[in-house]
Amino acid sequence: MHRFATLLDRLSFEPRRSAKLALLGDYFSRESDPARGYALAALTGNLRFRNAKPATLRALAAERVDAHLFALSYDFVGDLSETIALIWPHSEAAGSGRSPPLGEVVERLERAGRGEVPGLIAAWLDTLDETGRWALLKLVTGGLRVGASARLAKTAVANLGPLSPDDVEEVWHGLAPPYEALFAWATGKGERPETDDPVPFRPAMLAHPLEVRETGTLDAGDFAAEWKWDGIRVQAAAGRDRTGALRRRLYTRTGEDISAAFPDLVETLTFEAAIDGELLVVIDGLAQSFNTLQQRLNRKTVTAKMMRDHPATIRAYDLLALDGEDLRQRPFRERRRMLERFLVALDHPRIDLSPLVAADGWEALGKARSDPSAFHAGGDAAAIEGLMLKRWEAPYLPGRPKGQWFKWKRNPFRVDAVLMYAQRGHGKRSSYYSDYTFGVWRPREDGGEELVPVGKAYFGFTDEELLEIDRFVRNNTVNRFGPVREVRHEAQAGLVLEVAFEGLNRSGRHKSGLAMRFPRISRLRWDKPPVEADRIDTLLALIMDGATDGA
């Protein structure tokens, strides 16, 4: 438990991906089975045991600590589990080296009945130090939240040997904690684990953003064009296991199994195949914006009403396997033909075909991208965020291979705004002012104008531009609030930022009543005085024009 606790502790403070990988790698190579396998399971969200409720923990602490002292401490620390971890009284057993191995903790929790859990936790807390107790409480309350994704943990396992993260993904869903066979394979001590999983996750093929200048070097005729849907990318797989039973799964593009959230879709998977497509909410035959889909994603439990009001559909665009045959080495041209035939035969309203866009040449493609309605997208335009261009001859390759798939988004919106506040960044950027709050002008009651914040951005600029803005912030600070600096922003003095964004929503959370989607700094306008920045009317007009999410 001690090494696992140290790992979680370090991960929770480490902002850098590469350093997180190094910490994970160091842990996996030093720790033995089964502890490292249970750690991997914990990090990937694959431990299943009865979680302890906050009330249970509170009660344990109340038996041991003065209520007033606990209240003062909780007030200072701000986090219940952490307060308990720190305040738990020292016992003789603490630091005696009798701290429980991670494997023992996991295995006993898996077997424990409801009534046994508090006693187990209390006994373990008695033997652990502060960091150990914190890690244990994170583990037993579920959800480590130390900033290391499942994908990152799998990557660290792959890095133990010559494997790629996608190699690990392919066998992952056929394996179970504590993953001894996986570690043996990764460290060169065993063969690739044999799994009889009929529905493995097949790592997704991803696209590069298309730069306009690339259209000069690429031949439009080499590519199939589809709409880029604003839903969530999924892989729907079904197949028969050795007993002949049909197994079905719905994966995200990172391999997360989300079957439980979409039972209405899973029950439609009555075939033996793997489809790559977009999960959309389709109402009355019209694909809905991401906003609508989000209402369903935000819910923890799926109700019948939710499934009725927000029916999920798969808009299919690729076929990765069919009747036991892996199709990924075939060119897109062939896979597409097979997909079309497959869907005709399936004939299910909840799984439909993502149509090809009939636009020849870059000029027509450019028009289709910015005005889907003019290219037969019809009412579905609300769920389109641009074009996908796929090379007809490309096999289905995991990851983001060069020159095969491109996404060509609709023109982002742009606005000239004035820098108002800057905050120091994190990690590598912690000594730079790299998070910016910017505003546009709005009329004041006395007839003048004032700036109102409309968004925040922390990327889009180059390293050189970061240095320039940082210098500007330090030289023009008018106020400090902890890590935040207010910078000069007057009609004739200040910095104008050109901000690009993807959409605009009304929002009660912001003073301006607006919330930008995906804002980033696209240019520094040293040439413009702040008084020439945009007015809030410009943004309000965009909302009127339908610049809302996904539109």
């Binding site: 370090r10 002292l69 200072f76 020292h90």
Partner: protein, 373 residues
Amino acid sequence: MMRPATTKPTPTVTTGGDILTLTPAGLYCPRGDFHVDPVRPVARALITHGHADHARAGHGAVLASRQTLDIMAIRYGEDFAGSTQVALPGERIRLGEVTVSFHPAGHVLGSMQVLIEAGGRRIAISGDYKRQADPTCAPFELIECDVFITEATFGLPVFRHPPVAGEIDKLLASHRLFDQRTHLVGAYSLGKAQRLIAELRARGYGRMIYLHGALVRLCAYYAEQGVGLGPLEPVGERARDLAGEIVLCPPGQLADRWARRFGDPVTAVASGWVRVRARARQRGAELPLVISDHADWDDLRKTIVETGAREIWVTHGAEEALVHWCGSQGLDARPLNLIGYGDEGDTTDAVEREAGTLAEIRADATAGTGSAT
């Protein structure tokens, strides 16, 4: 509920109050006509230790340990007071109608508690203290007394400082794993920095340790006083060439432009506060090292009991919790709410910066805010 009063006590109602009272400048002994650690200039001051929130310049006469006087001279210049007098540890000195003596507090080099004896009563003022072993200063000496005036910087039960060796090992483990990155450790320039170095040496780290300019003079002073710190060098103009080395600087420098020279350093912070994760994040710690020069909750309680005092005054820190605990033990306790202290606290960064890196701040101000209004 059981919340103790948080208003300022009226000194006369306490049994110790006729010997010691509270004035705007801090604790004052009328019968001896002196202040202890006053926060503004006074005629006569007894100073417990050299931290900037306890030791200020501009007093008429100062009585303190040899090292505290030396440290004040290093920080403020030789003329930091009208006159100075050395108090030897344990030496009984008559001041007016009272007798005072200084006793090691184990906090930093030269740190002392002050004992005031008058009319058969003993009042001990702890200053800042710790009970943990520290190779860079004399250990805490317990004073039996009637009234104990204790600090309470870490006066909450969530603060239990771990053994220092384990924290040093955390730093060394990271140094092994990320051997191409500078390990930049934020530590207060007086006490913490030297203790960290000495503890690194005790764990076998023999390489050169590099220092921010603000730490150089005090480290040299510690070495002069016979504290073994091993090979040290100022960072100077070096930058990326210190990849893979351990560099110490005042905590305030971690987020400063100065820190950028190291490219992508591992940022460690050595402080008792980083035990609490939100506090560690606030301080920009990627590698929190829970090392403190103050008594933790267990040691505060232990010390209160061991002094035998029946009356406890709680000065700067988390007074409320400690006063509450004293009440539960049948001890008469009151918070003093001294303003202006806060060792290692949020205010100290500013105070310590003032003392340690004034030149740097001046440079920063002229270079950085030239065009600000």
